[in-house]
């Protein structure tokens, strides 16, 4: 196994994991969504790395070229980007409503308020 051959993938893993870490470790709801964006974008980088052919060119047919990079992952990621922004939009909308209902967007404060509410309900 060649070290350099896998270099791209290892960095991509590092990127994915930093996004993933932000999602689970941070308590601010907006920050979590940013982490999610980074996590997803990094997965896109993984896909696009798969599609690359060294010496190839963008998959737009032209008589000058014979080697093209793989167009299929590009298509998948176009779809995934859209899915990603749709999720972000919905998540942000939820965060706004949570701010209105709870007065905060910090996870621990929200959970505390929920516990209080449950305590007072009984």
């Amino acid at each position: 196994m060649n070290f350099l051959e896998q270099y791209n993938y290892w960095i991509v893993i590092l990127l994915m994991m930093s996004g993933f870490y932000i999602v689970i470790a941070h308590g601010n709801l907006i920050k979590k969504l940013m982490g999610l964006t980074v996590f997803q974008t990094s997965v896109f980088i993984l896909y696009i790395s798969i599609s690359k052919v060294i010496g190839g060119t963008a998959p737009i047919l032209d008589d000058q070229y014979t080697v093209y990079s793989n167009p299929l992952p590009h298509v998948l990621i176009l779809t995934a980007i859209v899915v990603g922004v749709a999720t972000t939009a919905l998540g942000l909308a939820l965060a706004v409503r949570i701010k209105e209902a709870y007065g905060t967007v910090e996870e621990d404060v929200i959970q505390e308020k929920d516990l209080q509410q449950e305590g007072s309900a009984e």
């Binding site: 997965v43 993984l46 999720t87």
Partner: protein
Amino acid sequence: MIQHLPILQVIIPLLAAPICFILKEARLVRWFVLIANVMAFVISIMLLQQVNLHGTLVYSLGGWEAPVGIEYRIDELNAYLLILVTSISTITLMAAGKSLTKEIPESKITYFYIAYMLCLTGLLGIVTTGDAFNVFVFLEISSLASYTMIAMGNDRRSLWASYQYLIMGTIGATFILIGIGLMYMMTGTLNMYDLAERLPEVEHTKTVFTAFAFFLVGVCLKLALFPLHLWLPNAYAYAPSIATVFLAATATKVAIYVLLRFIFSVYGFEFSFSHLPLTEILVSLGLLGVIAASIVAIYQTNIKRLFAYSSVSQIGYMILGIGIGSKTGLTATMLHLFNHALMKSAIFLALAGVVYRVGSVNIKAFAGLGKQMPWTMAAIVVGGLSLIGVPLTVGFVSKWYLVLALLESNWWPIAVLVMIGSLLAIAYIWRLVEVAYFKPALQNNQSYKEAPLAILIPAWIFVIANIYFGIDTSFTVGVSEKTAELLFGGAR
């Protein structure tokens, strides 16, 4: 038109959604949605007929044959699941008109119906497709729609529950995306049946192993396998009642379908169970889920939440059945998948009736309801008995097969634990029964009337199904055995 049935199954509810957005008027939308649902239900029955006549149906979308294009592929397993999803969705919708007016502001009801249709579309799309990436796309449609529905609950906690579900669901979807990407990397294809053919060549690589692991974890997040279930209890507890019924009865079931498809049809029994310690993982997580979630359920004061935890434990049973890795085990899973949908639909619909009249599902509010709302409470009790696994209910049938499968593999200690799980179910059902039937109504309680018929009748359709399929088991057992056979038969 007959050959187009597979796609019509999905695009009828799909196109209904934007049309509803144009129609706007809630009452109009309601009828329109109901008609679209009935059509989807009829199509699912016709599809089953076609499958029985001609065997597996293959439909190439855009006229491009797979693996170049995306194909829909329907065999008996898909066909039965489609019937399950569309029938439950249709019956649930009958109760929606009444229930929603109490729980959702007038101006948002149209949005709820649209989200409902989109969620249904997503679920149907997942079940019909034969393309791994298409699964991801439709999974996201159904997920985004369910986040929306859950957030429309009238308690502020519904927002928080929806947000948590969004985060965990998206992590799950991203894991699935990683899994699909790695599979594609090693095989160059996205079609499930092409994957099944090409995976054996590379099945010893670590990449394929990782792909499988990520896909599995992602799906298990979606189906709320213990300990990845954290999003589920609050989501079910605070969502509008109709959303709870629909999601509890169908969404997790479809996730289990995806799990089965990939374990058995794509990777194959050989790979999943001999190369990997899948038996150990699934059996131990399943058991842990059964026991832990049941215990937590006993301490709940919010009854919707109680039954949500019960859902987590019931999912444990299904996973346990898969983990056994035998035909009988899989039969038990398939049976429980069907039966659990019936139980939870009955219970949550009856709870929708309670919410409609009483406005609360706190256990204290149930005092005296046994007398005041006898039919509603009876529906919950029958559903509860079914959860416990009392003979003459469907719950008994699936537990019976599960224990049978465990004894067949000589795992009697686990069989004992499954029994203990049932005992725990008695505990949490009993708490409710005790309050409802043996406690006098609170003094300041006004007297409550029976739930409106629009909610009660759908609930009782499910209750009767619970009993009918508990007595006449030939249909469900026959189907489950056939589909288990099919899954063990390999890809095609």
